[in-house]
Symmetry: D2
Subunit: 293 residues, 4 copies
């Protein structure tokens, strides 16, 4: 199976490396050609355009920044829809808007191709360590054919269903839940502190019991310590993800009031110049509204 | 140290039993005298009134249903404020309104007594298994004196601070966070399902990663399976807890928009006759608002 | 028709005066007897207890502060339920909790009496000027009998229906809508100001067009001028009304997310020491959350 | 002063007609040339391209559907930025995104031109009847020069300030307030109805008093009568406006929780197939959540 990999940012780099190391024959393409070198050194075949990569491929994986980049790669002259052979599979692994995934799936189908949506959970370090989570949704036989690729990329493959929107939505819903959990923690910490409680002790209660999971232990720690200056995930990125979830909710006609609360706290953080702080700084907005800050 | 235990409902029964088994000398009182028998059989001394229990006690533990019951036990003729000796300690272990705890603490202080607030995390089975969590807040030396009692009751004692409101608030904030997590999950499951995803697969994603904790594994399971008919914790009880948290927020001047979202979902559940179902049925309200139900 | 009037605070004083001036034969009672004098001077007959007023009355009007006061007047020994003759009518004209009105209506019915709920819209000056609005709900023939009284009290009588809760709910819903309008205006003024607009000009736009009504002209003016120091209606009173509406929503199983937004802004105002300012100071909370304050 | 008018949809047609009738010398352009005829018949001069209209103009008025249309007219080869003479004024009178207005203002400034933002309040019938409201923001001397044009268009000109974003934001904030008022009315009507009240009577209370303004009399009527089948303004359009307001809030860092409530109700209306009904159908979503529908 001939595989092309498009998009060699930090995540793409790590993912493509993993595929080569697993023995897959890989063509690689990146808008900035300089990024091809490390993969070429490992044996991947460099290509000079999307079309060159796609024309010979059975499967094309894209790992690009946003919808605009995916549109550039997929649509128009020399794009995947034009150049990927009939029967070819495009696996879109970036985080994209649900309505765009739907539109792109239809365009590929009209060209006799298949789109799989396969966003991932984890950062570049998780890829390297083999701990990436991979969601996948789309045509059953295409998923079956691509399973070895997806398994090579990480720890576990979660199958979301036949509708390509499903995997994209699950990725966004997962991140949305995290934003909601942080927003609610911000309220809870403000409440206990205004009643005289020690935030460190409240942190212990949470993470010892019902909430003994990374979402609460990582972000509860930051809130209890007010250590949001060092950002793991910024307000800017968090707000982008929440907006993507709200947009998916609009597209699928699902009201999302909890996400709207998180959105408002993140916008309050923007208003106070905290765009580049960790998004746990939402808690500072709850503190401010409570007269604590 | 002479200890009196007032309130032998299911939780109180299990807690008092544990104290007797740990070797503490215990006087017991319950409004309905029939409930005294099991403890008397274990060696506890039955008493016929709050006053009889309190007059000889160094420490009185109350484990009663609500504020009204705590008021009856504490205030008025023959109540704890009148009958507990100066220097005596009252440990209130039920779930109570923060403003009432504050008022009661002042009344005890005026009578030369000390109120500790010490609500618990866990059900009767957790008590018996030694897995109860105990929060405590109030005067430092009183906490020190009572530590052996609190440790005998469970697995871990969390110290919330010197203000008795602190422990009460932490209990309410913990339950509030749970309600917020369930409400947000309800939105997330509706979103992924309307995008064609399999809810069981989404459950796997959540509990495999960021949200691998009981709050999500227990309630996510119920939502994915729509198994809210069998209630672990009912809408009626959940709404009571959320209202207590909102009331604490009002008293402490802390806006709680995430809790307000959970409140509205629970009220929607009331409107559809689901008062006695598990409070995870909040998810059905999100589904309904999305045209899924 | 013999009428007793109980509760001579500022509103009650003005209302009772109007009834006497309209030629109604009136017995009056007030907990603080000193307040009887002005009405006695106009020809009303003073009484020394609720029972004395009620025993000879066909109709008893109560205009008391809150549910606790209404309970004191109505329940227990010497209260209206005990002393009002069978067939007698109790018109409750204060602002009360919907569930309490329901409970009281049942108690009166069990005693062969009728409760009408008849809250009013307007302040004491409106009463004197004949501009009071009167809502009324309850048994049709009782409403018919009392119509001359209600008409004497104000400008217009609005009939809410047969269920006594209906009038109480309409009063709360009216005040709730006002709180929601002010909260939304607070957001709108923050938005236009952060985009460089002159708030006075935005005020002109609103009140010239879609929103040319007192709710917007009075409170929009205060927001545009930041003149909330002089309170027409305080945060404390506004929050009490919003909580009554939310409580009615809980009782009737109606989610009220817009009211919850107003509640949170009012609680934020509490947190910043603005309890006694005009409730238009909600706008300052929107400004604060936007980095304007 | 030579004036070009671009965009002859229903609103543009009515506005251009009014300018010609007021004696202004007008060049007109529309993408679909057929729409030029009525204005040519009145004496306006037809043109075949944006560039042809702009090259000879002192002032160009655009009245186009959305940002995409405004971008097409303004940017790129033959667009206003390229073809309008230095010192020329572009008055954008459509409803546009605040960030795009800001970007466009900067582009015009860089080309030595001036952008005024001047959205309008009212429908085509209001234009014809001379009742249009016009908001305007931008450079003071440009506003002064264009005042006769703006005054000819309607009843009243509201000056929002020097920042072109200001007028765009005021337009969006005005519509947002309307959506918030309708959402809150939906809650209020559900509340009173579940307490047994007659909705027509509640309508009378509102519109007789604090809320005697079109926002409440028009939309309250629709809600009381459930007459949303005949749409004055659809859910689809209302949701577009609320999203524009939320987008402006994001751009200006202003949290808008009341608008988020309206958004969720409108999305719920989408979910139930009511996209083309009047946006007062938000009230049906409140009714549904309350178990009424």
């Amino acid at each position: 199976m001939k595989v092309a990999f498009i998009g060699l940012g930090r995540m793409g780099q790590a993912m493509a490396t993993r595929l080569v190391q697993a023995g897959h024959e890989l063509m690689v393409y990146n808008r900035t050609a300089a990024k091809l070198a490390p993969l070429t050194a490992l044996g991947a075949k460099p290509t000079g355009s999307v079309a060159e990569a796609a024309r010979l491929a059975d499967v094309v994986i894209t790992m690009v920044t946003d919808d605009a980049a995916l549109r550039t790669v997929s649509e128009g002259s020399g794009g995947l829809i034009e150049t990927l052979p009939r029967g070819g599979i495009h696996i879109a692994m970036g985080t994209h808007r649900v309505p765009y995934i739907q539109k792109l799936a239809q365009a590929h189908a009209a060209a006799g191709q298949v789109l799989l949506s396969a966003p991932v959970l984890g950062r570049p370090e998780a890829v390297t360590a083999g701990r990436l989570g991979v969601l996948v949704a789309g045509d059953a036989s295409a998923v079956e054919r691509c399973r070895p690729l997806l398994q090579a990329l990480g720890r576990r493959v979660f199958e979301a269903g036949r509708d390509p929107r499903a995997a994209a939505a699950m990725k966004l819903a997962n991140n949305m839940l995290l934003g909601c959990a942080i927003a609610a923690m911000g309220e809870a910490f403000a409440l206990v502190q205004k009643c005289g409680a020690d935030p460190g002790s409240f942190y212990d209660v949470l993470t010892d019991g019902l909430f003994a999971a990374p979402a609460y232990s990582i972000y509860g720690r930051i809130i209890a310590d007010k250590s949001w200056d060092k950002a793991g995930f910024t307000v800017a990125l968090g707000l982008k993800d929440i907006e993507l979830a709200l947009d998916a909710g609009h597209g699928a006609a699902v009201p999302l009031p909890s996400a709207a609360v998180a959105r408002d706290r993140l916008i309050g953080a923007l208003a106070h110049g905290n765009e580049e702080r960790d998004w746990a700084v939402m808690a500072l907005e709850s503190a401010r509204a409570s007269g604590l800050a």
